[in-house]
């Protein structure tokens, strides 16, 4: 389906998919040039929810940027919090206490599952199945309840701080997480029986939306998109940060490079996240949750720093340039969806509109993350 498809311009028509379209989950706009239902050309148009976070960073102190980080990819806000915290901790050379690292890992992985649950529901909704959305949101609700009991918020957590975390987790949270892990394992089996094996879904995803490994590299795509194309790359393992090198987990890799492969990567990732949480809870040490020597006024030394984490959507990088003052000189956000969005424009050429919607869903784009 992915072959080059050319038609004279005057025989095509232009369809604006978005900015208010049910399948774009937000305000993405894609200018499609269609021949019947076949896509000749697709041009994503960005900026409908552009908030200029990078300029905002230059107008506030380092800690004040924390709430912003959770508002980029609101579905996996804790990974963004974590990256920002790690970035500044790297600049200040702060050693984070053990317990805080464990709490970070547990909450971030829980958040990752919640993010995948939203993707899952929305993806099947894009494919026309409504009910799974409610099931996945039921699961997500369990996670959000847990996270809310710790962080006090349900979506834009803004939970981590430079040097640790402000609130400790309690026994209720641990017990709830354990219950959730066993519940989630059952639910994944149910999802596979209900959706993954469904012949309609398989026909819609198999061999459709081909994004090969070389294309991933050229476009800088990472996360499930790259792993679905056979690239064994996960920042958590390749560039270990926090304490991920202590846990045993696998990086699910599929080589088919189609929508089904990306789907399966995410499904397997949920199980791996559960494994990580299980191990982290089993080995959770006691101790302080905040580093002692965090300065009152955050002034990273002059220079530029980079930190990357693996979010639910791929590699998130933040590059900070400090001039030694309390206000960042420059903060660059490398968001994973940015690459995926451009890839969509490239990969959906020659596809049917319905398949393009499925491809769009399989990329798991969060538009505020693209638009920054």
């Amino acid at each position: 389906m992915n072959a080059e498809y050319q038609l004279p311009e005057d025989e095509c028509f232009v369809l604006n998919l978005g900015p208010q379209h049910p399948s774009t989950h937000g305000v993405a706009r894609i200018k499609l040039t269609l021949d019947g239902e076949y896509i000749c050309k697709a041009e994503p148009v960005l900026g409908y929810i552009h908030r200029m976070h990078e300029k905002m960073a230059e107008n506030r102190t380092w800690p004040q940027f924390f709430p912003n980080t959770g508002r980029l990819d609101y579905l996996h806000a804790l990974a963004y919090n974590q990256n920002y915290a790690c970035l500044v901790e790297r600049a200040l050379a702060i050693e984070v206490p053990e317990r805080a690292e464990y709490i970070r890992v547990i909450t971030t992985e829980l958040n990752r599952i919640a993010s995948h649950m939203v993707w899952y529901g929305a993806f099947v909704l894009d494919l026309g199945g409504f009910t799974p959305l409610l099931y996945t949101f039921d699961d997500r609700e369990q996670i959000l309840d847990l996270l809310e009991s710790v962080t006090g918020s349900r979506l834009t957590f803004s939970y981590f701080r430079f040097g640790g975390v402000p609130n400790d987790i309690d026994d209720d949270f641990i017990a709830g997480t354990k219950t959730f892990i066993s519940r989630m394992r059952e639910r994944i089996k149910m999802y596979h029986a209900l959706i993954t094996k469904n012949v309609i879904l398989i026909n819609r995803l198999k061999d459709i939306g081909f994004i090969p490994a070389e294309m991933c590299r050229k476009y800088g795509a990472s996360g499930p998109v790259a792993r679905g194309a056979g690239i064994d790359y996960d920042v958590r393992r390749n560039e270990p940060y926090s304490i991920y090198d202590r846990f045993e987990f696998e990086i699910p890799v599929y080589h088919e490079a189609d929508s089904m492969a990306r789907y399966m990567v995410r499904m397997d990732e949920i199980l791996q996240s559960l494994r990580i949480i299980e191990q982290a809870i089993a080995t959770l040490p006691a101790g302080p949750i905040m580093a002692d020597k965090v300065p009152k006024l955050i002034r990273p030394p002059k220079g530029d720093y980079y930190h990357a984490v693996e979010t639910a959507r791929g590699r998130l990088g933040m590059r900070a340039v400090s001039d030694g003052s309390a206000i960042p000189w420059r903060l660059k956000l490398r968001t994973p969806c940015f690459s995926n969005m451009l890839i969509f424009g490239e990969a959906c050429r020659g596809m049917l509109l319905a398949d393009a919607v499925a491809l769009f869903g399989s990329l798991d784009l969060v538009i505020p993350d693209v638009d920054k």
């Binding site: 028509f13 369809l15 379209h21 049910p22 399948s23 269609l34 019947g36 239902e37 099947v124 909704l125 894009d126 494919l127 026309g128 199945g129 409504f130 009910t131 409610l134 099931y135 039921d138 209900l194 959706i195 469904n198 309609i200 879904l201 026909n203 819609r204 049917l352 509109l353 319905a354 398949d355 919607v357 499925a358």
Partner: protein
């Protein structure tokens, strides 16, 4: 009372025919209207239960007045005419959809003698009217001058063309067995018990249950229900054919969809499931037909809230690669068996 009616019938047959016509029209209108309204309620309740929530519950007990509220809301909205549309066709299309749905009910018998107008070619008439329904969707989509609607209209037509074929092939094989197009006679032949129903007439054709399934799938496709709701694929085409419709224009399309569902389910019950015959041969009556009818409709809804939507080529593949070959095989076997026995 009855003798008086008989007396009138004898003396003024013309008046009685008109009276009967009026009663029939009112009954059909009420039946279709009530069905459309309360099937929406049923669908929402069922969807709620499947999704582990309650569904409508605020308006009236168990949300039973919800359809009324929805109806009032739709009727009080402005009928919005977008710029540059073909006004006549735009306004005609919803009516066409609804009218053809009504017309189908004319010849459907709901019980012994419970029929507005008995036709010898009743089955054929229903198929004829049902296919005009597509025209309504096509016109509405085309006239509303919207790109999404336009894509949807192309989908509707090719979908219906693709699925008429296996449907009619199945019907043809069924007709070889029944030997009549009169729905009343078809039901009468199945009297006695569920082993006499056409779906289990294995001596006529061992593939009869498969034929039933094919007919069911085709009904899903003809009535544009999930997984074949490509015409209204809300995640791709916003609202498909109905994108530009609001107010009662949309309401009529919506009612038409449910009315068609009722027609399809009734037809399946009559053709395959013995119509108003009891499964055990006792107390036959319309209640059995309604039971079967609503069970089928619930199944259709259950399917809708379970499966994702198929794509266009998936739909055509299913029709041309699976349904039509099997229907043809069924036709051959049935023909051979009819010839032999």
């Amino acid at each position: 009372m009855l003798s008086y009616l008989n007396y009138l019938n004898d003396t003024m047959p013309c008046l009685m025919a008109i009276l009967r016509l009026i009663v029939c029209i009112v009954c059909i209108l009420a039946f279709v209207g009530l069905n459309a309204a309360y099937l929406v309620w049923l669908e929402r309740k069922l969807a709620g239960r499947i999704q582990r929530r309650i569904g409508p519950k605020e308006v009236g007990p168990f949300g039973l007045l919800q359809p009324l509220a929805d109806g009032i809301k739709l009727m009080t909205k402005q009928l919005f005419l977008p710029d540059g549309i073909d006004r006549i066709l735009y306004l005609l299309a919803p009516m066409l959809v609804m009218t053809t749905a009504f017309m189908c009910f004319v010849t459907i018998p709901f019980g012994e003698g419970l029929v507005a107008r008995e036709l010898d070619l009743g089955l054929l008439a229903i198929f004829a009217f049902a296919s005009i329904n597509v025209l309504g969707l096509l016109l509405g989509a085309w006239a509303s001058r919207n790109k999404y609607s336009m894509i949807s209209s192309a989908r509707v037509v090719s979908q219906n063309v693709a699925y008429e074929i296996p449907m009619l092939l199945v019907v043809a094989s069924l007709l070889m067995v029944t030997g009549t197009l009169n729905l009343h006679d078809i039901v009468a032949e199945q009297a006695g018990g569920f082993w006499n129903w056409n779906v289990l007439r294995l001596n006529a054709s061992p593939l009869m249950p498969v034929a039933f399934l094919i007919f069911f799938v085709c009904t899903l496709a003809e009535t544009n229900r999930t997984p074949f709701d490509l015409a209204e694929a809300e995640s791709e085409l916003v609202a498909g054919s109905f994108t530009e419709y609001g107010s009662m224009g949309f309401g009529l399309f919506f009612m038409g969809e449910y009315a068609n569902m009722v027609v399809g389910s009734t037809l399946i019950s009559i053709l395959f499931l013995g119509g108003w015959n009891c499964p055990f041969g006792i107390f036959p009556g319309p209640h059995w037909l309604f039971l079967k009818l609503y069970a089928l409709i619930s199944t259709v809804m259950w399917i809708r809230w379970t499966f994702p939507r198929t794509t266009f080529y998936g739909l055509l593949n299913l029709s041309w690669k699976v349904l039509i070959p099997i229907a043809l095989v069924n036709l051959l076997i049935t023909g051979a068996l009819v010839k032999v026995f």
